[in-house]
């Protein structure tokens, strides 16, 4: 009975996250994206369309801002009034940051978006009523709403294009919010495999679609709890701590700077995606 449960576990129920005192137990999926390697080629975005049954909405709906790119490549210029963009562009792959303290989760009226035990920000399509509050409260605006019923919309998945749809996850109908899942279908498959073999998922055993396709290997993904995982080593080396909103390294003056940072960290969302700053040579 829930009341008994409530009284017995009161102190547990009053626990804030994230906290160093209560770390993730087995898994904490996290990512790091090296902006110096990212070339902005869009392969990750297309891979995401292929893996996650994202609808192609067409020109008119794209014009209305109804596009579904869970992984979008943003392109920034840094001209400072110079005649040319002579240091190139800054590309930024933007996806759901799977915040440890996600603003979208608290506001969903029906609890359709939750934090899972392995550190994902999950979206339960069946539960979603489409209030879109989560999107309103997402500072990164990485949540995408099904403005139309794409499965029945003309030229979205015409026969036989629908045969390409990935049966590992659903095709969302109208009125449902969706977003990057860190390819949860892949994660679950390999976690199940590992569990049946009585072990944990080994680093590299599971890849997200965007990571797998990235020609320059700019995306690293893995289990932050696993000390052998590359992603964890990167976070550690870059001195980016998941559990704090202001990294101490940023306050220090260092000869060699560390590149790791998280976007809009000051909003205390504790994102699970770390970016590595883009570099530019000063000698030319």
């Amino acid at each position: 009975m829930s009341i008994t449960n409530l009284l017995t576990n009161w102190s547990d129920f009053r626990q804030q996250h994230p906290s160093a005192a209560h770390p993730h137990r087995e898994y904490k999926w996290a990512m790091s994206i090296d902006l110096d390697s990212c070339t902005g080629c869009n392969a990750c975005s297309v891979a995401c369309y292929a893996e996650n049954n994202l609808p192609v909405v067409g020109k008119e709906k794209f014009a209305h801002g109804h596009s579904h790119h869970w992984m979008r490549i943003e392109r920034y210029w840094d001209n400072d009034g110079r005649e040319f963009a002579d240091q190139g562009a800054q590309f930024l792959p933007m996806l759901c940051q799977h915040c440890e303290s996600a603003p979208c989760e608290t506001v969903c009226p029906v609890g359709a978006t939750n934090h899972t035990a392995d550190g994902l920000n999950s979206q339960v399509y069946n539960r979603c009523v489409g209030s879109r509050y989560c999107n309103a409260n997402c500072p990164y605006k990485v949540r995408y709403f099904n403005w139309y019923n794409y499965p029945t919309t003309e030229n979205v998945w015409p026969e036989p294009m629908n045969q390409q749809l990935n049966p590992d996850l659903s095709v969302r109908s109208k009125g449902v919010m969706e977003k990057c899942t860190f390819c949860v279908q892949r994660l679950r498959a390999s976690m199940n495999d590992a569990r049946t073999q009585g072990r944990l998922v080994i680093d590299g055993e599971v890849q997200t679609a965007c990571q797998q396709v990235c020609p320059t290997g700019a995306i690293t993904f893995g289990n932050l709890v696993d000390p052998s995982a590359k992603v964890g080593k990167q976070w550690k080396q870059q001195q980016v701590d998941l559990n704090i909103d202001k990294q101490p390294k940023d306050a220090e003056e260092k000869a060699a700077k560390l590149r790791g940072y998280r976007i809009l960290e000051e909003l205390r969302t504790y994102p699970s995606v770390m970016y590595l700053e883009q570099l530019r040579e000063s000698a030319v």
């Binding site: 080629c41 005649e83 700019a218 000698a283």
Partner: protein
């Protein structure tokens, strides 16, 4: 990947049946309740097939000619997604967006499903027997001289069979046409290094100076180069490579450069010579004749001619001298002029002076089977075919893997000349512009249904033969692969030789197994070799390394002075080859149409890029519909204003503007091929793609550009979103 031995064809049939029903009940509109279908349960599947668990088969990507190894995920008889084949040396398990969209070419609703014979304005469905019989009849009725076979790049057994067929006909003409290939560079490389396409070791270079080579986007083998680029940027030593891109219109590679130098169009050769001069001045040992030849290229003059500041030239020369080895790449921006060959030669000379030949410019291996080596195409081929057609020398024309009606400039009058050909056979995937003109349209299998072998032009290591195998049962019974069609045609001509092969698969398997010793399978029995080859996605061959020569003669090098302004057509048109659209053959894949262009973030349309200065001069703002007029034609598109382009230049992407092909391609954007001026490279005779001069006028309308970028543009508005740092502040070697 399946390692054990099994009968693949039977497997595909079983899988196909079960898979098709499962697919239909899973996603189609029919259902079991309707009584419109049968459900076949997996009573007897192959023992490695577990329903709901994906199985991976290796194959070769056909989306462009780079020949990446792919791995198709197959579930319940359907191919769902393509991954890179980790065993493929070209792409090492990685892919590009274009390659990913291969499944959309396969499942495309606009595919042609059966052979179509022209009947007035309509195509009438006929059987394959009738179609092949008709072809045989037609080719029998004309002189072999009057038969022309126009193809894109062909290699492997398709090429061998094609050659056999042409031989059987008594040697018809084979034209290999590529609309956007680096053919001038190939010729220049051949001259400078002795090979058309040396291996470029980006990963070994410490400095790369690329003259308009979009090796991260659309040039030669972008996925391979991207991986090398990653190692170049972050080598184990921690010494980050420096990329300098010299071009008039920013490409994806230019957007990733440490320094992007906007150069006046066509003056790339001058800059290369100027750099040699500056290097010589800085103390690099330069042969006397070269020093003499480049002596006049002082940095003041070069700066004046090219528009690149003397400061940047000096810094670049210093960097090149200091950090070795470097790599200088000549790309499409350098080659696209009437003096493209000279530009390319000057750039090759710079490479040689810097001692890069043999270091970062490596020799490729030759293929032990020259008859299967890729025949690369050029634009000259189409020119000659066109001339022949104009002179009524072509009676039967075959077209495969190209869409010349779409890609030929209007001045060629190719469409009119085609009408002079009495019988045109087009092997097509869609009813594209060329297929519409055909008398007989032969529907091709998709790359996911087809057998083939592929030898890519640019092979990363050794020599290799990639295999393309079906990933699933054919979607439509009425399609055939090129190999099967050629085999069918050959059976008419050389029945003794070819009647023994039931289909192209048996031919291919036989050919491979017969030659297994040369294909690295000497120690295995035929079946084992074959299965191993399939599961690997290809075979390695023993190729002889070709020797590189390094003797660009400076004395013959004449780089002309920069352009004189043309008052009527003041701007240079750069037709841009985008990573997704290329020459337009993939325009009907919606993922690619909706994948924003990396630089402009525009989707579903073409656009005219221009510099803010140019735009201000012409009174144009973003979204204005402008007319771009050259001497050869005009097109309209929306203007996009940004600073990644030289003010003397405007740029329009290629690949848009189809007026046939399919629902996703038709009517999207405008075709920039059409307005190209007939200016040719003086040495090779290739169409000079960047030589078109245009004028831009407002057409009066203004639209809101459909793009991903918001009203803030590329401005971060002071937020810490995408951060940039100078590289000397970071110690990369400490990084994980």
């Amino acid at each position: 990947m399946i390692e054990n031995s099994f009968n693949r064809r039977n497997f595909l049939k079983v899988l196909g049946w079960g898979g098709a029903t499962a697919a239909l009940s899973g996603c189609g509109n029919t259902s079991v309740e309707d009584g419109k279908e049968f459900v076949t349960s997996y009573v007897e599947t192959a023992d490695y097939i577990i329903p709901s668990i994906g199985t991976y088969f290796n194959s070769t990507c056909a989306q462009c000619d780079a020949g990446c190894g792919i791995m198709g995920r197959v579930r319940e008889g359907r191919v769902l997604k393509l991954e890179g084949n980790p065993k493929a040396s070209i792409n090492n398990g990685k892919m590009c967006g274009l390659g990913q969209a291969g499944v959309q070419a396969h499942y495309n609703p606009d595919r042609i499903r059966e052979p179509l014979l022209r009947n007035g304005d309509r195509g009438e469905a006929i059987t394959w027997e009738k179609a092949l019989g008709l072809i045989n009849e037609k080719v029998g009725g004309v002189n072999a001289e009057n038969i022309a076979f126009l193809t894109g790049v062909v290699s492997g057994h398709d090429k061998a069979l094609l050659k056999n067929y042409l031989d059987a006909l008594g040697s018809g003409h084979h034209y290999v046409y590529e609309a956007v290939a680096p053919s001038v560079i190939r010729a220049a490389n051949k001259k400078a290094y002795g090979v058309e396409m040396p291996r470029l070791r980006l990963d070994k270079a410490k400095v790369i100076v690329s003259f308009g080579a979009d090796f991260l986007g659309a040039w030669v083998s972008p996925v391979h180069f991207s991986q090398q680029y990653a190692r170049f940027r972050k080598p184990d030593s921690g010494e980050r490579g420096v990329l300098v891109q010299v071009e008039s219109k920013m490409t994806l590679t230019g957007a990733n450069a440490d320094r992007w130098l906007a150069i006046r169009p066509g003056t790339e050769g001058i800059l290369a010579l100027g750099l040699i001069n500056a290097l010589a001045a800085a103390g690099l040992s330069v042969p006397g004749d070269v020093a003499a030849a480049v002596g006049g290229y002082t940095s003041e003059r070069v700066s004046k001619d090219t528009g690149v500041s003397a400061e940047h030239i000096g810094k670049l020369a210093a960097l090149l001298k200091e950090r070795s080895p470097s790599l200088i790449i000549a790309g499409s921006a350098a080659e696209g002029y009437a003096h493209g060959s000279q530009n390319a030669a000057a750039i090759a000379l710079l490479n040689q002076i810097l001692g890069n030949v043999g270091q970062t410019v490596e020799a490729p291996s030759s293929t032990p089977f020259p008859q299967m080596a890729p025949t690369t195409g050029n634009r000259l081929a189409l020119q000659s075919l066109n001339d022949n057609m104009a002179q009524d020398k072509v009676k039967v024309l075959f077209s495969y893997g190209t869409n010349p009606v779409f890609t030929a400039p209007a001045t060629m009058k190719l469409k009119e000349n085609l009408k002079k050909v009495p019988f045109k056979v087009v092997f097509a995937h869609y009813m594209d512009e060329t297929a519409v003109e055909a008398d007989l349209v032969l529907p091709l299998n998709s790359a996911m249904e087809d057998w083939a072998t592929v030898i890519p032009e640019y092979v990363a290591e050794g020599a290799q033969l990639n295999i393309r195998q079906p990933l699933m049962e054919k979607l439509y019974p009425g399609t055939l692969g090129l190999g099967d069609i050629l085999l069918g045609l050959l059976k008419y001509r050389r029945p003794d030789e070819y009647n023994g092969f039931e289909d192209f698969y048996s031919y291919l398997r036989n050919a491979m197994v017969t030659n297994k010793d040369a294909l690295g399978g000497a120690s295995k029995d035929g079946d084992t070799f074959w299965e191993a080859a399939l599961s690997h996605g290809g075979v390695k061959m023993v190729g002889e390394p070709v020797n590189l020569s390094g003797n660009v003669s400076a004395t013959t090098l004449v780089v002309p002075a920069p352009f004189v302004e043309d008052a009527t057509y003041p701007l240079h048109l750069i037709p841009a080859v985008s990573a997704s659209m290329r020459d337009g053959r993939n325009a009907n894949e919606p993922w690619l149409q909706e994948s924003p262009d990396p630089l402009t973030t525009i989707v579903w349309d073409s656009w005219v890029e221009m510099h803010p200065k140019t735009a201000a001069k012409l009174g144009i703002v973003e979204g204005d519909i402008v007319e771009v007029a050259s001497k050869s034609g005009a097109m309209k598109a929306q203007a996009y204003v940004f600073t990644g382009i030289h003010p003397d230049v405007i740029s329009v992407p290629l690949g848009y503007g189809h007026d046939a092909m399919g629902r996703y391609a038709k009517g999207v954007g405008a075709n920039a091929f059409k307005i190209l001026d007939p200016v040719f490279d003086k040495e090779t005779g290739e169409l000079a793609m960047h030589e078109t001069r245009v004028k831009v006028t407002k057409a009066g309308k203004r639209v809101i550009i459909v793009k991903d970028e918001g009203p803030a543009g590329g401005n971060q508005m002071g937020r810490k979103i995408a951060v940039r740092l100078t590289s000397n502040k970071v110690n990369l070697s400490e990084e994980v």
